[in-house]
Structures are given as C-alpha cells and as structure tokens.
Symmetry: D2
Subunit: 334 residues, 4 copies
C-alpha cells in the first residue's frame, strides 16, 4: 500500500482523485488537504460534495507545512492552482515523494512560457527538466521512471490524442495548420464562484481566441503549429474537439485508419470508432478518450471526446500512477 | 412622457425593466443607475447583457446622490438590495417621485419582520404605512392612488394568486394549512457570483425550509397560515408552485372553478386553465401567471406558473405602473 | 457464478443493470435480450449506449422463446413493459429461475389494480401471491426467500423510504394525509421517442395528478393514505421527493430523528442527513436514497432523493439480488 | 392590411411566425394550417404551445386544398417539409400570392441538388428560376421584386453572413478553404418525436460530416468552397458558428473590420462586435445575427451567432416580408 496525499481535494478534479484513490486497492489516502487560507479547511469533503457522503468522509486539512506531510506519504497529487503547484511540488520532490501535478506548472520546459501565459516567473528549471509530461498513451516509458509527472491540460489531452498519430505518421500537409475547435463543460473553469460560470450566464461561446494557454502546450508537445479555439459549453463536464486537417496528397482514409490503429489498438483508455464519430455523452463520467474521423478528398475531420475532469485531469493522473508503479493501467478506473 | 430612473439596472430584474420601459410608449428612460461601488458602474447595460446591444445601450451610472436624480424624473424603479431600497425610496418619495420598489423593504407593515427576516431595523414606518402592496390583480384601486408600490416577491405572487380566490371565497378547511411547494429558477438568487448558483453546483433542492422570508410575506397578505417550501430548480427562469389544500366539506370542483373565474376572468395577465395544469414553459419570458387545478374529494391541488423575473418582479412592476397612471394594464408587456 | 439474462436491456434501466451485473463478481451475463419486434434487436448494447463501448459489447438478442433461455440461466432481470413482464415472468419462474421484475406487473396483490391503472387483466394471481415487494430496506427477510421479487417503482421507493419509519413508529397525525410532491428526471419516462420527452418540450410540470399508478402502490405498501403529486423535471436522472406531514401532538424532532435512525442506521444504501436536506446532485449516478428532515411545531418536512434509474430501479434490483443470494448488500453497487 | 396564411404553423418555426405576424400592424392572420394528416389538425395552436394562450388561440386547420385558401390571402408562409413546400408553393404562386418558403425546396437553382440532398426530383424549374434567395442583408433589391422568396437555412444564414463580406472584398486566401464549425440547438431538428432529439439522448456531437444538405447551399450562394461541420448542441435554440479562415498575405485586421463595416453598418439586424465575439445568449429569442472576429497574422476567426428559429428561419422570413412590401425592415421584429 502506498500512502498518498491529495492537495486541492475540494475542487472538481480533487473530488475525482479522491474517488479513484479511495477505491484503488494499492493506495491509502493518508489525508486530503487544501490551502491553509481556504474557507473549506476543516470541513469534510462530503460536506462540500454530498455524493461522497459515506464514501469519502475525510476532512480537508489546511496545508501549512508541506514538509510535515512529505515524510508521511509516498505519493502526492497536486490538484492546485498553477502557482501553488510551482511552489509545493519541489518540497515534496526533495523529500522523495512521487508527485503527480494536475496544474500547468511543469508542463512546458520553457521559462518564458510561464511569464507570458501564467503570469509568474518559473523558479524551478531543474524540475522542469526532469518533469515528464503525462500524456499516458505516448509517454509510457518515461512515466515509468518519473518522479514528477506533469499531467496534461484537458484541451491538450484531447487535441494531442486526436492529432499525434497523424503527425507521427507524417500524414498532414505542412502548409495548412490543423484547426482545433473544442468545447468544454463549465467544470473546466474550476469551482470558484464567478459571474462567468454562474448558472444564468453560461451559454455557448468561444473564449481565449489566439491566446489560450493550452495553445502553446499543444504546440510544444505536438511539434507542429495548430489553430486552437476553445469554447465554453452549457454542460457541466466533458470536452469535444473537432479537428479539421489537410492531408498530404495521396494519403488515403485507410492510411489514416492505420495511423490511429497503430497508435491506440493496445491502449485501453482510447476507444477508436470504426464508423461515425463520438458524442459527448459516451465519455462523461468515464476515463476514456473516444476518437472517430471522416475523410473527403484531402480533408480530414477528427473528433475526440473525453471527460475534462477525468481523461483531461484526474483519471489520466491515476493512469500515470498505475503506469509509474507497474499496476494494471486501468486499475480503479473502469 | 414620464421620465424614469431604474436603479439596480444591471441585475436580472433591472434588465427586464429596461427592456419593458424602453418600448413603453409613455415612458422615457432618463438614466440607468447602479450603486456607486458597483464594478458595473460606467459600463453599458448592453456590455453586461449582450441581448440588449442596439436596443438599450445606455450606461450604468453610479448613484451617489439620489436627490440629484429625484428632480429629473417622475418615476423610479428600485431593483436594488433590500437595505438599499429601504434607504433610497424615502429620498425619491420626499421629492415627489412615484416609486416602484422590487425589493422586500416595504412589503410587510411590521417592523419586527425586518429585523427577523432581513437583518435590519426598519427606519421608515411612515412609508411602510403608506406603501401599497403591488399584487396587481388584487390591489387595483389602491395602486391607482399609491406613491410607493412594494412589488411582491416572486414566490408570494404565485402563491397568493393561487390561493387568494379560495381564501376570499371561504372554500378552505381551516384545520389544515395549505402546502405550497414551489420551485424557482436560479435567476431568483440574483446575478452575484456564488458557489451555490454556479453552473456545476445547481441541482434540484429545497432550501429555507420553515424560515424563508417569503413565508411571512405570504401569510401577512393572504391572512391565513400556510406551509411554504421553496426549491431551487436547475433552470434559469420561472417558478412553478404546486399548492395542496383541503376544501371545506361540501365544496365542489365547480365552486373552486367559480372562485377562480370570479377573481380572474377580467384580469389579462392571469390565464386560467379550463383543463389540465400549467407547465413552466408556458410562462417563461412572458408576463402571465398561469393557473390550473384539480379536485378529488376534499383535496384540491392548484398549480401556478410564472416567470419569476417578470410576473414575479419586473412585469408586475410595469403592470403596477400602468395601473397607477391609467395606461392599459398590459401596455408594453404583451 | 450465477448465469443471468437481462430482458429489456436496451432501455435506461437495462443499461444500468448491464453495467452493475457486468462488474458483479458472482454474476455472468449470459445474454442481453429485447423483444423480438424491437428495432434494436441484433445491435450491440454499446451501439445504442456508447458509454458502454469496450465495457459491455454484447448483442441485444431478440427474445422469441423464453423457455429456450430459462434453461440456461439462474437469474432473470426483467426491465420490460408491464404487460411483457406479466407474460414472461411466469415462464421463467416455472423453469426455476429467480426473477427480479422492474415493472409494475407484480407489485400490488390486487387484480383490480391492474385493470384500473395498467389496463390489463392480471392472469397470474398465484404469482402475485408469491411475489415479494423488493423495498430492500424493509423486506430483507422476505427477499431472502423470494423466487419473484417485484422491484418497487421509482416514486414509491423514495416516498416509502421517507414515510415508512414515521408510519411504523406511529408518529403521524391520522387526520391529515402526508403530501408527497416529487419531481423526476425525464429518463423515468423511458427511452421511447415521444414529443412529451423531446428536448425542446420538457419543462417542469406536474402530471398524473390524483391518478398516477404509483399512488396506489405507495398506499398499498405504506398502509396509509397519502396525496401524491408527481412532476416532470428538466433533468435526465433523479427523483427528489418533498413530503409534508402533520405529527401527532407531542411528537418531537428527537422522536422523528430516532425513528429514522432506528430504521436506517444499519442500512448501507440509505444515507441520513443529520442537518439539512439532500439535493439531487448528491445521488445522481449513485445507489443511495438520501433523507433529511425539518420539524416546526407539528409540521414535518421530509426530503428524500435518489437516482430514479438506480435506487428507483436497477441498483435496488441488484441490491435485492445481493440479499437474495447472501452476497454483501452493496456488492458491485459502490 | 395583408391577409396571410401560415402553413405548418404547429412546428417551432411556425409558432414564431404566428407570434410575429400576430403583432405585425399590417398583417392579418387569416388562418393557420397544417397538413390534412397531421394529428394536430383541429387543435388550437395554443394547446400545443401554451405560451401563446390568450395571444394566438387560432385553430390549426387541415390543409386539403391549397386553391381554396389561395383566393383568400395575399401572402403565404410555408413552414413545411421540403417536399410539401415543393408541391404547395406553385399552387399559391399561380393564384398570385406572394410566398415565403422556409423549407429548402427553392433555395438552390440546381435540380440535381434536390435529388442528391433532399431525395426528390424537382418538378418546378420555372419557379426555381424565379425564386429569390432571402438572405436579407444581401438580396434587398431582388427581394423587393420577388413573388417567391426562399428563406435560407439556419446554418447557411450564419455562415454566409460571417463569410460573404470577406469573399466579396476578396480578402481570403483561395488555397485554403474556410472551416465552419457550427453548433445548433435541438429545435433545428423540428418538433417530431425522435430518439435522437429526446431529452436524455442529446449531447454535443458532430453530425452530417461532409454531407449535410446545408453545405452545398452555402457553397452555391457564397461562390467559394468551404468545409462545414455541423454539431448538435444541448440547448433548445440558437446557432453559434466559428469560422476559421486564411487571409491573403498583407490583409490587415483593419481591412477585415472595414469589410464587415461596409457590409453591415446600415443593416439593423446584424450587430457587429467592435471587440470580442458573441455568445449564444446574446441572440436567443432575438432576430439578430451577431458577428465578431479576431485576427492573428494571416489567420482570421469569425464568430457568428443567431437564433436558428428566428434569423435562421422565421424572423428572416418576416424581414423579407417587410422588405418585399416596403415596411420598415424590423417591423414587429424588435
């Protein structure tokens, strides 16, 4: 049994982590923590999230001293704000913990990126160098050796799972950037009160056009430019990405199918559609990324769907945990 | 043309007031105001509420000195917090304005009520005495003479329109209190950011059981005790109230139908159902209260539906305006 | 391992049964079946319900001859229309199968009830006599011996779990009937296409006032009259029941709390709220019924929430299975 | 006063037509009609759509003989299935009526198009030649002379309003097709019962990839190829189109702004955003198409939002009526 601490357990991703880890046969949740200033400190997780009543009734402990906890646990999950993860992760890492960070603090090995997109100067270049990007289907070998796994963002997970097989197989026309239109449920904005995410204000709309922080994350790890337009959708959970690409002349539908088959036929948490494309309802509450596509002439449309809180955050973090410690990849997930 | 000021114009009720008054042939919107501290001060109403772009593009002016405005307008609508209305209304009234207050500040002529349910000590007993409760279908004559109209709460409007014909006709068994179960859309909680009303948190649930401030308002104006249980529903607008009553022995379905007919056959904004009961969709976006009922033995169920922001707030305020100034009752409303 | 057949597997309750039984360690799904005329016959369950892709990919076999299957399975779940269950159950029972019927065909031991509320004449009075009503928390001993379990309706489950402790403890005033206002998600109407349940038509509304077939089911098993008003809510899943009761003079809040504690402190799938009342979001997707209450004077309001497809149908059926065969009561459910 | 007949009045677009024409000062609704076989024949419109109770209580008359009505009315609105419009329109046209057809029956002057995309052989090439495509902002002069106006589809309206100023101004790179990703509310599928549009089945998903009938309609009238991917969204009304384009080298943001300004500065029902892009909530229930855009380098993203039933159908039909008869363009619309 590995002892684990979940920091930021009161948020939407934290709740999902608690649920998975509570039923994981090799994990013991030593404690749930929130920042010392959080108004949720001292409450039970199940007071905030009544679905967990009788399942995970642990208290949310205020985290004032990371070192104190670092000695008691083997594994730390950080479902915290980017700056908080940036500060906390090294403390746990120095104590020897394995850290799965769900924030953006260690995803891109480029200090300037943090200044521009996250508004802080990165202080831990050494850990940036060592961090492994946790796109589970593509980083299996590196995750097995990692001490710090930077779990990808929700949009980047869907976008890269849709595009990476095509990029790797060299099927895309270089002159025309893939167009990623993605729509996310409101939970992607977190649990903090905001007029933007209040019930009466939400409606379908694009945001962050040409300047969303997930754009450079996608480009950095995909290795090719894209146009990425995120949208807020009027549903609580899930992401659907519609990706429009130009194929190289001569590339056939069969070539595309093979590229996806080769990439994912042995990956239990990517489900390929042989015909048709996925709908959001197929993945909500589940740890899968579903992918389908259609070809007409040189035009290719790939559709990827996932639960933004699961494959886009918490279940991918647990998937990385399973890979890291040699457990079956889907353990506790399905 | 009457000049009018809408205070609290940035909230959901304020927007509806602006829409109605903008198209009202006898009204001129002199200005829209918000509290001087509001972050919305200085913005256009249509920046906050894009549906009004090109329709009502007026700025939201910070209200620092009521007296300054009082001289410029004939009519004031207060879509403000209870304490704010309590403080502002007398300033406009002293200057001779006719005031329609959508808050709870002048609805119940009982000082203790404000301490208990609104958390402030009422300072304007004289205006409490003079205020007319604006339940339009029942207060027509008084509204015609009023300088201060206290527009009823959203739940009290639906509840009283459902019950008052029965109470007035003496049809209800006194030993058994009517049970009002009502469900309101999220806009009833206002536009302020709150975790409770955030998109991912809302689901059907009762609240304020036995202690909602609309309970004593209903009882005070209905003149009979009731059990009132409000619920938050997962929709933006509307209230549906299901009222279960015990009839006096011998009262027939026909008696009930007559009571409703007598009360409302000449009221253009109450729609009686001859068969069946209303659904919420019939009233959303419209200024009506729809009422239907069913009888079995001594048991009576009345269902009333309205848009909480319209008949439960803004359209009723404009209906009162129309009555007060002798305009057709539905002018600009349908 | 017990072999099981799920009939009516393509509907919403059937899908949930398939999900639970697929992960149940002592159950083997021998086959999924639908009626021979169903347009879904021959498809994969996961074609209709993509969330099950890769999890339950079994085909939906057309059921033409029950006897053929009866010999191959130990346990049958009927998630079928009432008339279909009425006809099928005896065939499986005669062959020795244990049958869990989710329809209304065997819930009330009164032939006239079926003519009036279900529109058919019941032909199997012998099985009506032997059927055990599967309200799991209250019928534990009988379920252990049952060959035919009539799993309760969704509204009756919530209503009875809310009221039965009070009735059994004799706390309710006999002169005033409890008022049950309950709101159900749209899935309660099944998966068949209908204008009534189409996306653009659904809004909060009461229906079946004074004549819903779940009313006599509640009364028959509770043993006391009630007023029951069901509502359609604009959400896919869940039931919230708000029950307003009159207590006998002298009954205290503590008496009520004790009645609930005594009834449910050792029942793993009823969660009592010590303070506050449940919201729908706490139970959606979960096999619990959550119960809370409030008392003021002689007035008592009990709120019960459940997932209509789970505790109101499929999870209760599996709970009954677990009880019947001596498995842990929550096995595969949480 | 012009006498008018609305055929197909029971559907979602028909209801909106009835609402607009009922309040139009120059129009008299002579009758509402549905096909003779419709189960709605004989009912009141307000029985099906309770929001119209007391507003439009006319009966839905079965249309068996178009000629009978043709003599009594000046103007006919066809909110009917494509084949029905195809058959009916000529009958009314021959009698001298002015016809506004909301179906696809006369939108594209290419017989083969109807065989391929609508499944019938077009019999009325003469009327196809005379029909005027009712994209109101671009066809003003032709609509003024038209006897048959083919009101554009919902997706084509948003798509063309977004792209036509750019195409006309020659700003787009010809080598790269614009990518139109559009999401429509469920009402776009009509009011007929279907599992696909039932409440529990709807979730965000693409459909009709590479073969939606609105694709050739867009291409035919825009005069340039596009990639068009429609999506079903989980909301009742509205369309949001996100259009990604490549600009010609050297084209600036200012050039784009000027193209939009030139096209729409004097068009009352297109609202241009000076900064930001529209959200769906700004247009639901309103007759506008809202348009905003963003440029980065050679990449341009245009966002257009409209109510699919209004600017995408009924309000555009009334706008065409107003243009045709010389009424103010927005009469009865805002």
């Amino acid at each position: 049994m590995l002892n684990t601490l979940i920091v930021g357990a009161s948020g939407y991703a934290g709740v999902e982590l608690a649920t998975y880890l509570n039923r994981h046969p090799h994990m013991n949740i030593t404690a749930l923590a929130v920042s010392a200033q959080s108004p949720d400190a001292g409450k039970l997780l199940s007071d905030l999230h009544p679905q967990l009543k009788g399942i995970v009734d642990l208290p949310l402990q205020p985290l004032s001293d990371a070192a104190e906890w670092a000695d008691k646990v083997d594994v730390v999950f950080l479902a915290t704000a980017h700056e908080v993860s940036h500060d906390l992760a090294p403390e746990f890492l120095k104590a020897g913990c394995v850290v799965f960070d769900l924030s953006g603090a260690f995803r891109v090995n480029d200090g300037a990126f943090y200044n521009q997109y996250y508004g802080f100067t990165h202080q831990h270049g050494d850990w940036l160098d060592k961090a492994v990007y946790g796109l589970a289907e593509w980083q299996h070998e590196k995750i097995k050796e990692a001490q710090l796994v930077a779990v990808p963002g929700c949009y980047p997970t869907a976008s890269q799972l849709a595009l990476k097989p095509l990029v790797e197989a060299g099927l895309l026309n270089q002159d025309q950037w893939p167009v990623i239109n993605a729509t996310s449920g409101v939970s992607g904005a977190g649990r903090k009160a905001s007029v933007t995410t209040s019930f009466c204000e939400v409606s379908l709309q694009p945001y962050g056009i040409f300047n969303h922080r997930h754009h450079p994350e996608i480009v950095a790890h995909l290795g090719t430019p894209v146009i990425f337009t995120p949208h807020l959708g009027n549903f609580p959970r899930g992401i659907l990405a519609t990706v429009t690409c130009r194929l190289k002349p001569g590339v056939s539908e069969q070539d595309v199918a093979e590229a996806f088959h080769n990439a994912y036929h042995d990956k239990p948490l990517v489900r390929l559609y042989k015909k048709g494309v996925p709908a959001l309802k197929g993945v909500v509450g589940l740890p899968f990324c579903d992918i389908g596509f259609a070809v007409q002439g040189e035009h290719l449309i790939v559709v990827a769907a996932e639960d933004n809180l699961l494959k886009g955050a918490s279940s991918q973090a647990v998937q990385c945990l399973n890979i890291r410690f040699g457990f079956p990849e889907t353990l506790s997930l399905i």
